[in-house]
């Protein structure tokens, strides 16, 4: 993974010093709330329902064990012994004091971390495929370019005060696990007709009040031109995006109102005039960064791995975990192990400081010191020897980290919701817990198969409900928490926005509604067909009928 050079380190150190001075001025009464708010937001410090919340950047979701240990320590020293992993691969702490924030930023800077631009109307954390570098079929590791874009976008003098937040995602393979089409700018790594590697650049995706999918601005941008081209896209948005209404301020609204052809024409016009003065991306710099993402020193391992196969055969619980939570690795004898942070009855995406410390240890022992955060709020150990999986699983199980539900109905994605968030209209976590409770039976979960439920507590859609196979949106209906269900959303390259099922439900009726949806699916599915495919084949009517049938 990337290691800072002196330049990177100095930037985060100076940023931490700048923020320390801003906090000093704030606490000395020299800065008003109006002046301070955008400054603290650009360092990820929100004011939430109960306290300040700090959102720490985890660039493209990749963490070293040392970094994970510092996150554990931050939880212990400055918060309440736990953190929350988010749908943008970041981590949040919910009980922060303003006076501690400068010390926290210093602690982070010491392990090459920061909270820069995790909020505010600027370019946010660049996200990428959580299996980058280890899944088969990848053209190149997208994290190389996520790191390049991270640096380019950090304290960019022209683009730090955009009309609204700006989110970029990159992926190097299909299926697209990075939800590229739901981002303000999405990048698919591509080869052109000559076999050269470059990027398909898409723009105008986003969730929230008006979900839209990104459209292609250019089919192929050569690597060397990537940053200069992105600057032209950003410039058109910065100049023309609406600033009068926060619900109409994202680039998706601009692309939609201009139409993609007109938008593209404006970008290309600016690009033609500025390509030589835009940010260069020399091959030497790409190579410098790419070297950090070279594969680790894999051992040559003969497959099948006897110890692993035997353990699967002998230990049914282990076998179940392998079936669901272990993903094929491109290197023979290795595996990708996913740590579910969705234990039944827990809070989706939360981990205690103790668990973080344990995970750091496991990463050191079993995964070349690396862990990743997914945008579905789970953690990945990307490089585990198959022969080590059983030992890893036993240790995970001892710490409540071995729930075998990746991608299943109980692997629910949920925003913090009204329990924590000042923007929310309804709670989301208890809904997730109720659904998990209804579907506790593991065999039943396996029978149902892949089914992504995503829950948001308000229209800002941080739970990504629009792209859930089943989406749930919490609303406030005359003081009561009410939940709207959508079906058929998807975040991959065949992205789709979920369709509203019908009238909403009070909290206690949600598990029944979900159960009826599942029953409908099980009745109608063709052999081996996952939920989303059945829905796309039969449409919404059978589901509607069952859920809203009298009695």
């Amino acid at each position: 993974m990337y290691r800072y050079d002196a330049i990177d380190q100095r930037l985060v150190d100076e940023r931490a010093a700048q923020f320390r001075e801003q906090v000093r001025r704030r606490m000395a009464g020299e800065l008003s709330d109006l002046e301070f708010k955008p400054l603290r937001l650009m360092n990820g410090l929100y004011l939430q329902l109960h306290a300040y919340m700090l959102r720490i950047a985890v660039p493209y979701g990749t963490l070293s064990s040392a970094q994970m240990r510092v996150l554990a320590t931050i939880g212990r020293k400055y918060d309440k012994d736990y953190g929350h992993f988010t749908t943008r691969q970041n981590i949040q702490f919910n009980w922060i004091k303003l006076e501690d924030a400068p010390d926290i930023l210093d602690d982070l800077a010491a392990v090459e971390m920061h909270a820069i631009q995790t909020s505010g109307n600027c370019i946010r954390n660049v996200t990428a495929d959580q299996y980058a570098g280890v899944a088969a079929g990848e053209i190149e590791d997208p994290r190389i370019y996520a790191e390049i874009i991270r640096q380019w976008s950090t304290l960019h003098p022209e683009f730090s005060f955009l009309p609204r937040k700006f989110k970029i995602a990159v992926t190097g393979v299909f299926p697209d696990r990075a939800a590229v089409k739901t981002h303000d700018i999405g990048l698919f790594i591509r080869r052109n007709g000559k076999g050269e590697v470059g990027f398909e650049v898409l723009a105008g995706g986003g969730q929230g009040r008006t979900p839209m999918m990104a459209q292609t601005v250019r089919d192929f941008v050569p690597k060397a031109e990537l940053l200069a081209y992105l600057e032209s896209v950003m410039r058109i948005y910065n100049l023309m995006g609406r600033r009068d209404n926060i619900y109409k301020a994202r680039i998706k609204i601009l692309v939609h109102s201009l139409g993609i052809d007109k938008f593209r024409a404006l970008v290309e016009e600016d690009y033609a005039a500025t390509r030589d003065s835009g940010s260069p991306l020399p091959a030497a710099e790409i190579a410098r960064i790419a070297a950090y993402f070279a594969p680790p020193a894999y051992e040559r391992i003969e497959t099948p791995v006897r110890a692993f196969e035997a353990a699967r055969f002998e230990d049914r619980d282990f076998a179940r975990w392998v079936t669901h939570n272990v993903v094929a690795h491109k290197q023979p004898g290795y595996a990708i192990a996913v740590i579910s942070l969705k234990p039944e009855g827990g809070v989706p995406g939360d981990a205690t400081s103790d668990q973080m410390d344990r995970i750091a240890d496991f990463a050191d022992r079993y995964s070349f010191g690396e862990v990743r955060v997914t945008h579905e709020q789970n953690l990945v150990m990307p490089n585990v020897k198959q022969a080590d999986l059983h030992a890893l699983w036993r240790e995970l199980a001892a710490h409540g980290l071995a729930t075998p539900n990746l991608g299943l109905i109980t692997d629910i994605i949920a925003c913090p919701g009204l329990d924590y968030c000042a923007l929310a209209n309804a709670r989301s976590i208890p809904i997730a817990q109720r659904i998990q409770e209804r579907f506790m039976d593991r065999d039943r979960q396996a029978l149902i198969g892949e089914l992504k439920i995503k829950i948001s507590g308000c229209i800002n859609a941080c739970g990504h409900h629009h792209v859930g196979h089943i989406g749930i949106l919490g609303v406030d209906k005359q003081g009561e928490e009410f939940y709207q269900i959508t079906l058929g959303g998807s975040a991959d390259e065949n992205a789709s926005v979920g369709k509203i099922l019908g009238k909403g439900f009070p909290a206690e009726a949600v598990p029944d509604a979900i159960e009826k949806l599942v029953d409908t699916y099980l009745d109608l599915r063709a052999d081996g067909e996952p939920f989303l495919d059945t829905y796309r084949r039969v449409g919404i009517e059978p589901f509607k009928e069952k859920v809203y049938a009298a009695g």
């Binding site: 109960h50 809070v347 929310a424 976590i429």
Partner: protein, 99 residues
């Protein structure tokens, strides 16, 4: 006119605080000054605004409440969550022993 109290977040620790009759800010809702007339509300609003201007608290606003069995209960669920803590972690926030 309904019964109201004033709340805000402490500028330093970010915790929810309630304006008491003596102009101090308490983390306990039981200490909140309760107003029922427009004049009293305006008076308390002025005290709250002054604290905001003095940069001691942020995000000041009035909360509609009911008094039930002598206890102050915000009418809106969101404000009850602010007064108590997350419903999914009863060990955290004001509702807990170390709240």
């Amino acid at each position: 006119m309904s019964t109201k109290i004033f709340n805000a977040n402490d500028i330093n620790n970010g915790r929810v605080v309630y304006l008491a009759a003596d102009g101090s800010w308490s983390e306990r809702i039981a200490d909140a000054a309760v107003v029922q007339s427009a004049e009293d509300e305006a008076r308390l609003q002025a005290v709250a605004d002054a604290a905001f201007e003095a940069r001691r608290v942020v995000d000041v606003y009035a909360v509609d409440v009911a008094i039930e069995d002598g206890r102050i209960r915000p009418l809106v669920y969101r404000e009850r969550i602010r007064a108590e803590g997350p419903s999914v972690r009863l060990d955290l926030g004001k509702q807990s022993a170390n709240g």
